[in-house]
């Protein structure tokens, strides 16, 4: 049977993993045979039958193939990272707004950890004067390090094993001081997103950052993913400076699975599996 076009189908469409690629000790990419029409920054809901369903950014795309890159962390992502060719996954989507790519010639892309996944197809598509700033905990965790050899890349690691020892935000400030950017794109932990936003605000450079919340429907119905009045799944996950300025809950609050609104740190602890009850 031919795979239906993902943008039309609404139920999960079942794909067998075509091949897998270990990107780093923590990251595995799963490739699928299928066409998907999407904008960089959009995500799909990935269903592992009998287990759970979670949002993942599309990190690779070709004319007849696409892939998602999973950081093995918790129950779901560990199982996903351990999948073999032939294993079944259901895919719904793509969802979300994605990055707005029609903005200026000189851009800076900032990625932290697994946040490199959504910006990879963005880099593929932009084909502009791109400055990449990427950070990870350690050298071997730098995702897609070999993917853009010709790119003007600046790297940093927490442990100094590769590039600058420190944070991407430090590299961003440095880059801004020597370049003129029309747009900064960023994806990574929300605290990093907030710093990037603050730097850009100070320098009056517009930015777009991708956020993460617990999601259910993925298409703007259930309200599980709200950050204030914004639905991260459909109004986001990418928010621009204009929106961010009005989002009081940016880097402040998030909803747990129960719908309880908690400080982002509590949410992160839940997400980090510290056995905090999701119903606080």
């Amino acid at each position: 049977m031919n795979k239906p076009n993902l943008t039309v189908e609404k139920k999960p469409i079942m794909f067998r993993v075509d091949r897998t690629k270990r990107e780093t000790p923590d990251h595995v990419t799963l490739f699928f045979n299928g066409t998907i029409q999407f904008r960089p920054g959009q995500f799909v809901m990935v269903w592992m039958p009998g287990v759970d369903e979670k949002p993942y950014t599309i990190s690779y795309h070709g004319p007849k193939t696409f892939g998602i890159t999973v950081e093995a962390k918790g129950r779901f992502s560990r199982k996903a990272a351990a999948m073999k060719p032939g294993d079944l996954l259901g895919i719904r989507g793509p969802f979300g707004n994605g990055f707005d790519t029609g903005t200026g010639e000189r851009v800076c892309v900032v990625a932290g950890g697994c946040g490199t996944a959504p910006v990879a197809p963005l880099i593929d598509m932009l084909g502009k004067d791109i400055t990449l700033i990427q950070g990870a905990r350690s050298r071997d965790l730098l995702l897609f390090k070999e993917r853009y050899p010709s790119l003007n890349g600046h790297y940093c690691t927490d442990d100094g094993t590769f590039g600058h020892k420190g944070f991407v935000t430090e590299l961003l400030e440095q880059a801004i001081s020597t370049n003129t950017f029309d747009m900064v794109y960023a994806c990574g932990p929300e605290i990093m997103m907030k710093r990037v936003f603050d730097i850009c605000e100070k320098q009056k450079i517009p930015c777009q950052v991708s956020l993460e919340r617990y999601m259910r429907c993925g298409f703007g119905a259930c309200g599980a993913c709200v950050c204030g009045a914004e639905r991260v799944c459909i109004d986001g996950p990418v928010f621009n400076s204009e929106k961010l300025r009005q989002m009081e809950n940016f880097n402040q609050k998030a909803l747990l699975k129960s719908g309880a609104e908690v400080p982002l740190s509590t949410y992160a602890s839940w997400r980090c599996g510290e056995n905090i009850s999701t119903t606080n």
Binding site: S258, E261, N280
Partner: protein, 299 residues
């Protein structure tokens, strides 16, 4: 297009259904600003509850299926919400659920102190093992829960939310009226139904079964409202599949006072409330009549 509902002035005859978006105050405010006359909070339970794992909501194009499973922070853990409520300048319905008459009473007692404009009793949810639908399919159980809640809330008007699974929904509505309900909301999701993925041979929803909503359930919703209108004198929030102004007019003609909107947010965006209101308004102008003129006109 002002309407009066149990003494409150609403800016539109449209109502945001419970469980759609209404997870925090900010988004309720946004929905109100998008032209919605009355917004309903996500149903609030007696204790913290996560609801089900994903998949919980699937869009089928002509409707949706969901088994979110009544997640709730629990009424004791919503201080931020209750504080926000205090500063609002638009009417709000607090939807509540419980697994027993006692739990309903307990939640209602607390919530009514927070002064929502209305309290809606969700006695009709198919997506939990023990909450809700059991009440809504029995006239005596429906009477009991409404009656018990009425005693504790005293002045807050009560809306009973019913399930199409009831054999005689008119009878249930009458029981709610007798129990002290001030209005009826109908319908909650239909079914439940089930989707099975044949490749993995697994039910797609984590809870296996889920309630149906959206355009495909509209004929059932219209029939239910028609039956309820025949059986009681209570105002009705007609809900189920409404997506356009014409759909809303149809519901009003079946007997509804207000037109509830849930799944259509998916099909036409949050501005669906403004769109539906404008379409209703246009229709009424074109036909030279008012909402009052056409209420129950199909009877």
């Amino acid at each position: 297009m002002q309407v009066n509902f149990l003494g409150k002035n609403l800016i539109s005859p449209t109502v945001l259904a419970s469980g759609i978006l209404g997870n925090n105050f900010d988004i309720l405010q946004r929905v109100h600003a998008s032209g919605c006359g009355l917004v309903t909070m996500k149903s609030i339970g007696p204790t913290p509850r996560d609801g089900h794992n994903n998949p919980t909501v699937i869009d089928l194009g002509h409707g949706m299926i969901n088994a979110v499973g009544l997640p709730s922070p629990g009424y004791l853990h919503m201080e931020k919400e209750w504080a926000d409520l205090n500063n609002r300048d638009f009417p709000i319905v607090a939807s509540i659920y419980g697994a027993s008459v006692d739990e309903f009473q307990q939640v209602a007692d607390y919530v009514s102190d927070k002064k929502p404009d209305f309290i809606e009793l969700n006695i009709s949810c198919p997506n939990s093992e023990k909450h809700g639908m059991l009440f809504g399919t029995s006239p005596t159980a429906s009477f009991d829960v409404v009656n018990a809640v009425k005693k504790v809330v005293k002045t807050t008007p009560l809306i009973a939310k019913l399930t199409p699974q009831a054999l005689d929904i008119g009878e249930i509505a009458k029981a709610c009226e007798d129990g002290g309900a001030d209005a009826i909301c109908a319908i909650n999701t239909l079914g439940p139904g089930m989707l099975i993925d044949i490749e993995s041979r697994t039910p797609i929803l984590d809870f296996k079964k889920g309630g149906l909503s959206g355009p495909m359930i509209r004929p059932v919703a219209v029939r239910c409202v028609y039956d309820i209108f025949k059986a009681t004198r209570l105002p009705i929030i007609g809900l189920g599949g409404i997506t356009t102004g014409a759909d809303a007019i149809e519901m009003i003609m079946a007997g509804a006072t207000l037109a509830g909107v849930g799944s259509a947010v998916t099909y036409r965006g949050i501005s669906v409330f403004k769109k539906i209101t404008r379409e209703m308004d246009q229709w009424l102008k074109d036909h030279g009549c008012t909402l009052e003129d056409i209420r129950g006109a199909a009877h």
